[in-house]
Amino acid sequence: MSDLTDLYQAVILDHNKRPRNRGKLPQATRVASGDNPTCGDNCTVYLQMDGDRIGKIGFDGSGCAISQASASLMTTQLAGKTLSEAQSEFGEFRDIVTTGKEPEEFSEVAAFAGVHAFPARIKCATLSWHAAIEALKKPDSPVEE
């Protein structure tokens, strides 16, 4: 079962059980959604901007433990970041989940290194990140109900 505990590390189980920043932001100015038609997972990311930085960030949607934990962790990583900073964070995260190599500096995202052994699950891990980057690229505008 070593593979499985690699995949479902304590960090992931924790974020899955107690997701951070879950829910729609009432004052959001940017929003983007992604879905994985193959498995039905979906994720919406809400941003409230502070200049060119993310002020507040929230997410919504449904999916497996990997996708939910990854979305939760993503919100903690990207708060306060600009688009280009977020893109480089995403690049590092993508490296981790596709290659399994852990980051040089310690970070909670290292918990996702086990995903690389389950290629079918990589999309689960990156879904929310894609949505966040897409939202960041949009112009500000009031988000409809």
Binding site: K17, S62, C64
Partner: protein, 414 residues
């Protein structure tokens, strides 16, 4: 004279392997089934001895290939008790068969005001083609609802009566056995009612053809579609049965070699069925593999296979329903159920379940099972499905249940 199912596993080479360090327990049969040695050998033998194009050839190999291909059609005619082989068209699978009817029959026939009736439990393959042709022709698509919060009530037959009563129904498209719920629909009754209302019927037999005796004449359907790969035959081959009178007037869905009687630069005339619907070089080898699969299944006996699977499903149903936070879809305890069980756990997503079970060597399917709208109606993003075939045993059910217990523990659901 029940056959002995405990050793059938030995006929299927793929089952002789370990996954995650455990012997493979394959419970994804509603997605696709494995092939017995006899089918794999039939394929190899064709390519090693008789391989050739069919119909237009007069040399030895071509005649053997043609004979083999037409013998597969005869075998299929018997397998579903069609009245003649002109009613049996080979396609690439159920999906292609349904599209052939939707476009070949529906597109010419349907018009605004006409109604096509489908069910809420249809697989996308017997739903989307009807959405498309209704959109193309202006006909209206209506659905027979499923009853119960876990769809345990099956189709709402009273609602069906009303749909028919409302009139203008030209076709009723429904699945014989639901791949998501395990529900066995009352096909004969549905067909009889449709007929009385002047509507044709298109039965999706993907989950029934290899699991019970099918008699299209007794069922009274107009079209019946199924896939080889879901009944021990190769991928890439399927069947459309259509009543002769309909096949004689339906437009071909594809143009090309083999389906024409005369071609001039200005236009063409079609051959009768089945050739009319088989443009291009057919999938000869896989038709011959399908023939071998039909022989294999009938050597075991389809009614016995169906009973065996339903018994396994009942065992699984009973054991799984003891688990905390589980929701099982489809027929309730003791109700007739085909050989599959779909379920969802409170707090553990189907994909986590499937990934976890895989490490135990148990192959399951998680997702919407190509029935997104039903999932949405039931308020579930996805379910986990265990589906059985003749080579599964009660020990496989035990492995399934044990694996589910472990995952619940792992995720702290108690």
């Amino acid at each position: 004279m029940t056959p002995d199912f405990s050793n059938l596993r030995l006929d299927f080479p793929v089952l002789d392997q370990h996954v995650g360090g455990h012997p493979l327990v394959y419970l994804d049969n509603a997605a696709t089934t494995h092939k017995p040695r006899a089918v794999i050998d039939a394929l190899a033998r064709f390519y090693e001895r008789d391989n050739s194009n069919v119909h237009r050839g007069l040399h030895a190999l071509s005649m053997r290939a043609t004979d083999g291909y037409e013998a597969a059609r005869e075998r299929t005619t018997k397998f579903i008790n069609a009245s003649e082989s002109a009613e049996v068209v080979f396609t690439s699978g159920t999906t292609a068969s349904v599209n052939l009817v939707a476009q070949g029959w529906g597109r010419d026939t349907l018009k605004p005001g006409d109604v096509v009736v489908c069910t809420e439990m249809e697989h996308h393959s017997n739903m989307v083609p009807w959405q498309i042709v209704c959109q193309q022709t202006g006909a209206t698509l209506r659905y027979i609802p499923v009853l119960g919060e876990n769809a345990e009530g099956g189709l709402d037959m009273a609602a069906y009566d009303e749909l028919l009563l409302a009139g203008n129904v030209k076709l009723v498209a429904f699945t014989h056995i639901s791949n998501t719920l395990g529900t066995i629909n009352p096909a004969t009754e549905i067909c009889a009612k449709a007929k009385a209302a002047g509507a044709l019927t298109m039965v999706d037999g993907a989950q029934s053809a290899g699991h019970e005796n099918v008699d299209v004449q007794a069922m009274g359907c107009d079209f019946y579609a199924f896939s080889g790969h879901k009944m021990a035959a190769p991928t890439g081959i399927g069947v459309l049965y259509g009543r002769r009178e309909l096949m004689d007037v339906m437009s071909p869905w594809q143009g090309g070699g083999g389906m024409i009687s005369t071609v001039e630069y200005e236009g063409s005339k079609w051959k009768p069925s089945p050739e009319r619907f088989e443009a291009g070089t057919p999938n000869v080898a896989d038709a011959i593999g399908l023939h071998a699969a039909m022989d294999y299944l009938d050597s075991v006996g389809r009614p016995a296979i169906g009973r065996h699977e339903s018994e396994l499903a009942a065992l699984a149903y009973d054991a799984l329903s003891e688990l905390p936070g589980i929701r099982i879809l489809g027929p309730g305890k003791g109700q007739p159920r085909a050989g599959l069980v779909s379920f969802a756990f409170e707090g553990v997503h189907a994909h986590d379940v499937v990934t976890f079970a895989d490490q135990d060597g148990v192959a399951l399917r998680g997702g919407h099972h190509c029935n997104q709208p039903l999932m949405r109606k039931l308020g579930l993003p996805s379910t986990t499905r265990a589906s059985f075939y003749l080579y599964n045993t009660p020990a496989d059910v035990d492995a399934l249940v044990a694996s589910m217990q472990r995952i619940l523990k792992f995720f702290g659901v108690e």
